[in-house]
Symmetry: C2
Subunit: 161 residues, 2 copies
Amino acid sequence: MESLSKRTGGARPPDATLEVHLGYWLRLVSNEVSGAFARALHARQVSVAEWVALNQMSSSEAATPAKLAAAMGMTRGAISKVLDKLERKRLIARTTSPRDSRVQLLSLTAHARRTLPGLTEIADSNDRHFFSALAPGEQASLQRLLRRLAEAHGMTRIPVD
Amino acid sequence: MESLSKRTGGARPPDATLEVHLGYWLRLVSNEVSGAFARALHARQVSVAEWVALNQMSSSEAATPAKLAAAMGMTRGAISKVLDKLERKRLIARTTSPRDSRVQLLSLTAHARRTLPGLTEIADSNDRHFFSALAPGEQASLQRLLRRLAEAHGMTRIPVD
DNA sequence: TATTGTTATACTCTATAACTATA
DNA sequence: TATAGTTATAGAGTATAACAATA
């Protein structure tokens, strides 16, 4: 750094402003990977937010709009629209809770349970496509580093966009 | 994989669908890092697309809307709107090329040259904030892995969203 | 009064396609 | 005809705030 500054008369390399940031490379790769995934999902008429919601509902006992909103870091209003779309596609059902009739209980339809494995396979194959460029040990390193960052900063919300 | 299936009787752990994907962790961390950066830029009334455009213009000799569109992976129409906003903020100027009057030459204003270092400092400090959770060697590893993925898949567009 | 879910509204971002003016 | 840039229009996605029903 010091020597570079001296060599170039104190001026920065003019085109190095963006690429020096780790955040730049993270965003570059993440956008490509997620973008390809979103396009593959889109071919099945499913958005990433819808896919995440379906997954949440399949892995948690009692899903409600409010719980989904908290888990996905979206407002209840936004979740309501996502659920409207899923309901129109006959992938979820809403039923009023018998315990508290303000609460809507969300459940996957049989159609959704048949559809979900195919969507998971899209995610699997998208992962394989991009990360097979790394050796297995490198993939493990990458995951370890990312998980460490997530833990260090308390990242808990499921990323949707 | 095989042994896991046998051990669990062929059933998958029901809540492992999302977190097993490297793409999931990549998106989780990237969204947090980029989101924090976008919010910090927003406090200076600048969007990420605007910041990228300013950087491109500061590091390339002859910037034009078409070149920016290609570099940033956006349509010319979308770039035109970004440039409108930058012009309204007096950060760029558009002048007609003397060689080809269809072409608009883009340049930074003096105000932009005074503003840009502050924005770069936001990017620097955002990087420091998030990645200081990793040791220097780990940060280097992460960058190396990400760059490898970018190269392996020919990722060249500057990520904007 | 507080909470759940929905709806009304608005805003940001971007794409598509039509358009103007040059070449 | 082809190209550079702009503009008109539309769509996706999400937030804010007002609302109805229930606790």
